[in-house]
Symmetry: C2
Subunit: 164 residues, 2 copies
């Protein structure tokens, strides 16, 4: 732990501001990707979850995304209409319906993220291993914190009244 | 610049994954904030832009967000309906209409972001000044890169056909 200096406060202020800027830019980047796929940003997030190694049900998507099951139905309808997923019976349990990404999804999404991947590799090339390890540690903790804070907002949102 | 080691490749892979995870969590966090304000994530981003030091016009919002002027009209309508902004004549130029956040916006938004701010301060307390400076440098460059990549997608989106 460090001594508290005005310099440190400035540093934390600048970091908070830049993280907020990165958040904003990330939202707009995801929006741009979603626009290119003719879906919205939430649909894109759910497509990303559905494209993972395990097959997912609508219920699991609702659980992971924090959306209501009604909202998830809308998401899956839009993804289906855009040709990005299909609803299929789970071969392991015919009572369950799973959301399966279309075979061309990896290529379409990789093509859209390709230029970003190259730019981020170029950015990493400017740093030493131990520097990247430190950034990785900070970003891992920041991701965990953001997850916890979103969950907290969603929970309090069920009971609290919005307003000043 | 560093030597290329398998360890370095793993580090960059892990960093890319965690940054993607932070992006995803950030999108969901913004979605949770937007839900609490009864608007969508894009509306929230535009509210953030409108709450800056300079008064903004609808045209300026379109320019900065990369949305069409039609989409911006929808955003402003929703923000107005949620009681978060008003359309007003610019006192400096009566021909211009500016988007003015409601007086209670700073308090409402600060209240929603408050717990996140505290959690991020706690996270920063784990690092030395020089470590925070390095993270700040990386995140600043990552934000700039993300901005450039979103702009690139928006530009190519106007002429390119989506698909594999």
């Amino acid at each position: 732990m460090s001594t508290q200096l005005p310099q440190r406060e400035e540093l934390i202020g600048a970091l908070a501001w830049k993280m907020r800027r990165l958040s904003g830019e990330t939202v707009l980047f995801h929006q741009a990707i979603a626009d290119r796929l003719a879906i919205n940003a939430t649909d894109l997030k759910c497509l990303d979850l559905a494209a993972g190694p395990e097959p997912v049900t609508a219920g699991r998507l609702a659980e992971v995304s924090g959306l209501t099951s009604g909202a998830i139905t809308g998401v899956i309808n839009r993804l289906e209409k855009a040709g990005l997923v299909r609803r299929e019976r789970d071969p392991g349990d015919r009572r369950k319906v799973i959301i399966v990404p279309s075979p061309e999804v990896p290529d379409r999404v990789t093509a859209l993220f390709g230029s970003m991947t190259d730019a981020m590799l170029e950015l990493c090339s400017r740093y030493e291993d131990h520097e990247l390890a430190l950034v990785l540690d900070f970003i891992s903790r920041a991701a965990k914190t953001t997850h916890e804070q979103a969950a907290k907002l969603q929970q309090t949102g069920d009971s609290a009244v919005v307003g000043a």
